[in-house]
């Protein structure tokens, strides 16, 4: 997590998130996000060397369900929600160029 110290590359992150930004937007968000990161950096002042890393704040574990079949959605509903469909499959722009 060295990104914060070095500043964040908004153009790179936007590409990973598939968000198209203009140059002006990139510059604008770069400044704003740098500020946010700088603010969060204050946490670095705390000594957390004795604190165990935690993924969750609540001590709740093992929330399971039984392996029993439940209700799926109606096929027509799914297709209605899809951008396009062909023979029951959801159609999307071509995602591989081979």
């Amino acid at each position: 997590m060295t990104e914060a110290k070095e500043g964040m590359d908004v153009g790179y992150v936007a590409n990973l998130a598939r968000i198209e930004l203009t140059e002006e937007e990139t510059a604008l968000f770069q400044g704003q996000l740098d500020q946010v990161l700088h603010y969060v950096e204050q946490l670095d002042e705390l000594d957390v060397s004795e604190v165990e890393p935690t993924a969750h704040a609540f001590p709740v574990f093992n929330v399971f369900r039984k392996d029993e079949v439940g209700q799926s959605l109606d096929h027509a509903v799914i297709i209605a929600n899809a951008p396009a469909a062909t023979e029951g499959e959801i159609r999307v722009p071509k995602i591989i160029d081979q």
Binding site: N62, F64, R65, K94, I96
Partner: protein, 474 residues
């Protein structure tokens, strides 16, 4: 300079659960597209995942079968990427705290015993199935979110034969353990293969090439062999290996470079906020351990030590679980392990491969085979006739005993019938009779053959021999 290859495998195995990993949609191979889907596996906003208890159990049992340590605490992470095979735009997986740690697998490679170590096994969810057509990609989300575990080996293998032995043993153990059906055609076992080559003696591994998502073991073997040759040649000619992802072209038997853009993944893992961590107690682990079935290696030992079968037979019988289970069932009806083994390795396997059906569809049931063996052991029929009965039952079904009667296959041990044939043989062949009497013991075999011929193979050879000796020696 000499070079050596290092190989590591990441094997994805689909567990045998009724439902998906985080939702109650059914897992069914070959269903109509997009019928087993719901807001969770389609990534609709607000939908929350809930862990499938059975999948966790199967993953941990897989770990126990491979001598892994079950992690007392494990958690979930999001692996972020944009691709329509994962509607949420992230895959739920386990990054730093997987369910199973370490582990190993011992196999035989060309007669040499080798132990391959594992790094980990983690639980995750499967992606949807894409089909690429002209100008578009089609997505079927039935498979999206199904329970998938990833078994990661250490880079500890050195040849295609090593990798093949590892995968074969892994598949066998998962099948025996009831963890997965491991059907490669159904995509239930798929591997990413990492291959690197370095000069012998060099400490650091060479640049590794990853060959993605292969299900056929034969292709995996070919891809590894090709890749070792390709990298070795590059190094020998003073070149260097580019770290990259390659695909395997099965028609040409070659690997090829895939777009480097896809390699520059930045998955931005972070803890999955929608799922609480998993804690597994030592008692739970012991409970699961006590439920583990016998593995092929253990069965092989038992077949040799307790049933007295040759090593070779034990190996053939345990090669797949269905055959071994069938053998076990037959042994509930007979004591004659070697006879069962001979029939399975001989008639059964020949007929199954001719008909291209699995042993489960054989009309010769374990009980019927035991019946045939009982008839042979009681000397009611000869071994040859037993094989005939087997084939008749295999093709048309029916009761072995009834078939023996109907076809007149019973051996003749009855003295009066044998006596007639013996007298005829002696009368018609004075020369061998004379030779036998003159001390050439082997000549009796000719007479015996004549009697067997006269009986059309139905005479009991032991009884014939006794009868002939009685007449000639008497």
């Amino acid at each position: 300079m000499k070079y050596e290859a290092t190989i590591g495998l990441e094997t994805h195995i689909m567990q045998k659960t009724q439902t998906k990993m985080f939702c109650a949609c059914r897992y069914e191979y070959g269903a109509e597209p997009n019928i087993h889907v719901c807001p969770v596996c389609l990534g609709y906003p607000g939908a929350l995942p809930v862990m499938n208890e059975k999948a966790i159990e199967l993953c941990c049992k897989a770990g126990l079968l491979l001598d892994c340590k079950i992690n007392p605490y494990s958690k979930w992470d999001r692996k972020n990427y944009f691709y329509p095979d994962m509607a949420k735009n992230y895959q739920i997986t386990q990054a730093d705290e997987p369910l199973c740690l370490g582990g190993h697998l011992t196999v035989e490679v060309d007669g040499e015993t080798k132990t391959f170590t594992l790094e980990r096994i983690h639980q995750e969810e499967n992606a949807a199935k894409n089909t690429h057509v002209a100008g578009a990609s089609l997505v079927d989300y039935n498979r999206a979110g199904t329970a998938l575990m990833e078994i990661v080996s250490n880079p500890c293998m050195h040849s295609a034969a090593d990798a093949l032995a590892y995968l074969t043993a892994l598949k066998q153990i998962m099948e025996y353990g009831g963890i997965s059906d491991c059907n490669p055609e159904k995509g239930q076992i798929r591997s990413d293969v990492n291959v690197s080559v370095r000069p012998v003696g060099q400490k650091e591994l060479g640049s590794k090439v990853e060959i993605k998502n292969m299900n056929s073991f034969a292709f995996i073997q070919q891809a590894i062999e090709y890749e070792i040759d390709r990298q070795t040649e590059l190094l020998e000619n003073g070149g260097s290996v580019v770290q990259e992802t390659r695909g395997f072209d099965s028609e040409r038997g070659e690997t090829f470079s895939q777009r480097t853009k896809e390699n520059a993944h930045d998955y931005r893992y972070f803890p999955e906020p929608d799922l609480m961590p998993v804690k597994i107690s030592a008692e739970q682990v012991e409970q699961w351990r006590s439920e583990l079935p016998e593995l092929p290696a253990q069965r092989r030992v038992r077949y040799v030590s307790e049933l007295g079968l040759p090593e070779y037979d034990a190996g053939v019988l345990t090669a797949d679980k269905a055959t071994s289970d069938w053998f076990e069932l037959a042994m509930q009806h007979t004591q004659n392990a070697k006879a069962v083994s001979n029939f399975i390795m001989g008639e059964m396997m020949r007929l199954l491969s001719e008909k291209e059906i699995p042993i489960s569809e054989s009309k010769v049931t374990p009980e019927k085979l035991a019946g045939i063996i009982a008839l042979i052991d009681a000397k009611t029929i000869s071994t040859g006739a037993g094989k005939q009965v087997f084939e008749i039952v295999f093709n048309d079904g029916g009761d072995p005993k009834a078939i023996v009667e109907e076809k007149g296959l019973a051996q003749v041990s009855d003295d009066s019938a044998l006596e007639d044939w013996a007298d005829e043989a002696i009368a018609a062949n004075p020369k061998p009779v004379e030779e036998y009497k003159a001390g050439n013991a082997a000549s009796i075999n000719f007479l015996m053959g004549q009697v067997m011929k006269a009986s059309r193979g139905k005479a009991n050879p032991g009884a014939v021999m006794q009868m002939l000796k009685q007449k000639l020696d008497g």
